[in-house]
């Protein structure tokens, strides 16, 4: 039952152009395109930060995915952001996403691919965008 501290790879804002945000106060449920954004500029994803204040329960982990035009940025799906059962705090990534560049008219979207029996709650997502 770990509570992982949030860590940002971009603690200085100089490289950040925009922050794409999502928030669910209630327990998350699975689904595609929970939120979608149009970035409006040529850029790259600098960091994906997901944090849950309330733990999930039951079997399995919570797993999220980020897509550009419907295709995952985590080509290695095992690297998707994951929150183990009964944990809280920042979701872990085994490694960085492979696809990080986007164009102005791309669509960036958030999926919740898997939850425990009951998903975690008070979930906030911050996708940090920078210029190429």
């Amino acid at each position: 039952m770990a509570d992982t501290v949030i860590v940002s790879r971009e603690s200085r804002s100089s490289n950040i152009v925009d922050i794409l945000e999502y928030y669910s106060n209630a327990a998350i449920t699975t689904g595609t395109a929970k939120k979608e954004w149009v970035p409006g500029f040529y850029g790259r994803i600098l960091d994906v930060i997901i944090d849950s204040e309330t733990a999930n329960s039951g079997e399995a982990t919570d797993i999220a995915d980020i897509n550009i035009n419907g295709t995952t940025i985590y080509t290695t799906q095992g690297n998707r952001p994951t929150l183990p059962t009964l944990d809280t705090g920042m979701w872990g990534e085994a490694a960085e996403p492979e696809v990080v560049t986007f164009e102005p008219d791309d669509i960036i979207s958030l999926d919740i691919d898997q939850i425990a029996t009951t998903g975690s709650a008070r979930v906030k997502v911050a996708i940090l965008l920078g210029r190429r």
């Binding site: 501290v5 804002s13 106060n25």
Partner: protein
């Protein structure tokens, strides 16, 4: 029924600092509750203003009062300075619990990477809450 004008306590950006907004919008009637929205703070920053505005009036008596928290602890150590809107008003929330006196800034304004910013609605009007509410927490980021 005064309609308070929005007044932003703007300050010129210091060199090397940039403005970001943590925002929310509630179309329907406000209800009380904690952590109505939460944001991850990814960088060092300083809150330079908190703008809350309700275009639609609620019903009943009592002042509408918000609170803003850093990692679950209020920024308004002096609780009487929380953003507030009198029951007879619409528009901009003054930063005082009487919803009347000119605002006072929160006691805590500096944020660090990994902080979680959130807002609570501590009190609403007695029958139903105000509507069409904008929340905008402005920060200057380092």
């Amino acid at each position: 029924m005064p309609d308070n004008d929005i007044a932003i306590a703007d300050k010129p950006n210091k060199v090397g600092w940039r403005r970001f907004n943590f925002t929310d919008y509630v179309s329907g009637a406000l209800t009380t509750g904690n952590a109505k929205k939460e944001w991850i703070v990814p960088f060092f920053c300083k809150i330079i203003d908190i703008v809350i505005d309700s275009a639609g009036a609620g019903v009943g008596t009592a002042t509408t009062i918000f609170d803003i928290n850093r990692n679950g602890t209020t920024l308004f150590t002096t609780q009487n300075n929380r953003p507030a809107l009198r029951s007879i008003d619409t528009g901009y929330y003054k930063w005082t619990a009487d919803g009347l006196t000119d605002r006072k800034p929160p006691d805590i304004v500096r944020l660090v990477p990994g902080d979680v910013l959130s807002y609570d609605i501590d009190q609403i009007q007695s029958t139903s809450g105000a509507t069409r509410t904008i929340v905008n927490i402005m920060v200057d980021a380092q």
